[in-house]
Symmetry: C2
Subunit: 230 residues, 2 copies
């Protein structure tokens, strides 16, 4: 977040942890002891704490007083709230893009969709991350940096949620929906684009089996099992 200056050490640690969490290398609920993290990355505890503070303000980790930091475990209620905000923000992004898509915007979006197709059927975490980055790219093209930052945060938390709740046949089918959204924006059809985006996000949320299915016993036990296995 340092304005123009090169990436500071804190930023590097933050980025690494961020990616590790989103790709589910660090699983939800897992502890992040400052000593261990600092030792692994070869930095002091101070830096790790700074990175953890940032991750906490963005909702990817939660820290319990005098107990340390943990990878966030969003509850279903939190997940619902996050998706609500995400729908709100991304429909705005869609509206803005219909109005003012920058010149090379469509090229960038279609290039990304091609990359998504490349990982079709491959391992889940990476395709979840790529799917999220499509939405982040859209937000950045909107020209509103503040909006893009919030979309980035929300999409990342959604990636974490998807990693927790998603069924095996995860987010692949969404790639076609991405293409449709691009087409609607290109056609300057605001209503259709927003409707597609809402449907897309609704589908993503459904795929994470929200409404209806509350926590099953095995999912809870699986989570506790992971924590134990740590």
């Amino acid at each position: 977040m340092a304005e123009h200056g090169k990436s500071t050490t804190t930023d590097a640690v933050y980025d690494l942890l961020c990616r590790a969490i989103i790709e589910q290398s660090l699983k939800p609920g897992m502890r992040l002891p400052e000593d261990m993290v600092g030792e692994q990355f070869g930095v002091s505890r101070t830096i790790v704490r700074h990175a953890l503070v940032r991750l906490e303000t963005e909702g990817l980790v939660v820290s319990k007083r005098n107990r340390g930091a943990f990878v966030a475990e969003p509850t279903l209620e939190e997940a619902r709230q996050i998706f609500e905000v995400r729908r709100c923000l991304e429909t705005e992004v869609t509206r803005l893009l219909v109005e003012r898509m920058p010149r090379s915007g469509f090229d960038a979006l279609e290039a990304h969709v091609r990359r998504e197709h490349g990982t079709k059927g491959k391992d889940g975490p990476v395709s979840i991350r790529l799917a999220g980055e499509f939405h982040i790219l859209m937000a950045e093209l909107s020209g509103n940096a503040v909006l893009a930052k919030y979309v980035t945060q929300v999409v990342r938390r959604c990636s974490l949620i998807m990693a927790m709740f998603a069924n095996s046949h995860s987010a692949d089918c969404a790639v076609d929906e991405h293409s449709q959204i691009i087409a609607a924006i290109r056609a300057k059809d605001t209503d259709r684009a927003v409707r597609l985006m809402e449907h897309h996000l609704g589908a993503v949320a459904d795929r994470a089996n929200f409404d209806g299915t509350p926590d099953t016993v095995e999912s809870i036990l699986a989570r506790y099992g992971r924590e134990l296995a740590q």
Copy 2:
């Protein structure tokens, strides 16, 4: 942000700095040397840096590499973007409140409006803060904590912007608009409530003389003057 634990020292420093910035005791562009801040509050630089990291991620301060932290000076373009996001988020809050305003919600809102009336014509910074807290209260009543957090951040940055750009007859006239919004929500008139909210935010933005007037020479000089006077 610590979940249930008591407020840690970092939180206290963060809150103090936050209020000081919003009430414009710390003026935009002012330097925040870690030594000085820590000395004034009686805490070590470690704590101050944590608080500054949080304030930076929320956009209230910017830190330049090896130069330290400064109170943010939003440009007009940033201000425009922030207001765009704010309108998006707060119309969503309004829609949600029409659907699901909690029981004691109207009492809380009207009590706040009365407090705003109490400071009518008094000093600007405090009434700017109160006006902002009305919107934050609305967001909290929406029942979506994530949405409320983002609204809080955006409103705070708007308070900073208002403090920078607002003319002398600042935000007092907005109190009546607050009452009208409450009435529309109570009547479950979504369209009217959203329209009022958009008009209200538009009026707030106008009051900060956005569109049309770019930076005047005197405002720029005033800012540099403040920085020099530091």
